[in-house]
């Protein structure tokens, strides 16, 4: 089981990649790590924090759900209009990695639920993320870094 560290602002958390349910996506993600990028708060999905990935994939459709839970670590193609007000017009989505830190949240596309690949589960530090994200929403977002432990 691969363990990854998630550093958001001033806190850290740890997740376990689900290599059984999502073998191809987790293998792809391990190749991509470490990731360091600007953390962004969702404006359309509730309590979601995500980062853009420096690739557009493709990623396989694997271990997908439209019913994301607090603590799920997921990757998916987010509609570009939710990311930047003026996005490159040849692109319609950005590949992102993110998580939900409180309930009453769900990943949406332009017209309904959006399936996400669940790549892992945050097993330690979820409460710290759930306090850091609202703080950053008020005081400004910094970086998120994800790396293999």
């Amino acid at each position: 089981m691969t363990r990854v560290r998630i550093a958001l602002g001033e806190v850290e958390a740890f997740a376990e990649l689900d290599e059984v349910a999502a073998p191809r996506t987790t293998a792809w993600l391990r190749e991509l790590l470490p990731i360091r990028n600007r953390a962004i708060h969702s404006m359309e999905n509730g309590r979601e924090v995500y980062a853009l990935l420096d690739t557009q994939g493709p990623i396989p459709e694997e271990n997908q759900t439209i019913y994301q839970c607090v603590g799920d670590l997921f990757v998916y193609h987010k509609p570009a209009i939710f990311v930047e007000p003026a996005w490159p017009r040849h692109m319609r989505t950005f590949l992102v990695i993110g998580f939900i830190y409180e309930r009453d949240s769900a990943i949406r596309g332009m017209s309904g639920p959006l399936a996400t690949n669940i790549v892992g589960r945050i097993t330690q530090g979820m409460d710290a993320l759930a306090h850091e994200a609202p703080r950053m929403r008020k005081e400004g977002f910094g970086e998120i870094a994800i790396s293999v432990v």
């Binding site: 404006m43 939710f82 007000p85 009453d104 949406r108 977002f141």
Partner: protein, 168 residues
């Protein structure tokens, strides 16, 4: 028509009130002006910033006119009130006053407006005693610098917003 001016970190935008459609709401808003506070970016309704109404500026208004729930466009300004028992989770990004009851101006500044999770919230749009969403004004123009400043709130955090009566 009465007009409002919104001042956000050196940028301004002017809105016209819909007093022919929702006169009661417009009168109530007009009476509490000026209002100011730290605006926060939405996390359900896409390109929207919110100004929470605090202390003696809190408005508890009845529904008036057609509900704007889920149907808004860039430039729309909505009076929003939500009953205490309808809070969505802990609301840790809000001051303690708004972690329960919520009274605010919802200011839609760009595309998409109102899309996302806010469009599929049927439990909160059926009962007007639990939530009020009244479209009471629309910007006559959305200056680019004002829009950019709204977008910056997403990344940089709260920014002071002042809403005043506009008098030429």
């Amino acid at each position: 028509m009465r007009r409002l001016v919104f001042e956000l970190e050196g940028t301004t935008a002017i809105a016209e009130m819909h007093e022919d459609i929702v006169p009661g709401t417009c009168d109530a808003v007009w009476e509490i002006l000026p209002v100011e506070g730290m605006s926060i970016h939405a996390n359900w309704a896409s390109r929207e910033i919110m100004l929470h109404l605090q202390g003696d500026k809190i408005l508890r208004l009845p529904p008036e006119g057609p509900s704007s729930h889920g149907i808004v466009a860039p430039g729309d300004i909505v009076y929003f009130w939500r009953a205490p028992q309808m809070s969505r989770g802990k609301q840790l990004a809000y001051s303690s006053e708004f972690e329960r009851e919520l009274s605010e101006f919802a200011i839609f500044y760009g595309e998409p407006s109102g899309l996302g999770l806010a469009t599929s919230d049927p439990a909160r749009e059926s009962d007007p005693t639990l939530q009020v969403t009244t479209l009471f004004a629309t910007f006559i123009d959305l200056p680019a610098d004002f829009v950019d400043k709204c977008e910056e709130i997403r990344h940089e955090g709260l920014k002071r917003l002042v809403v005043k009566r506009y008098e030429e």
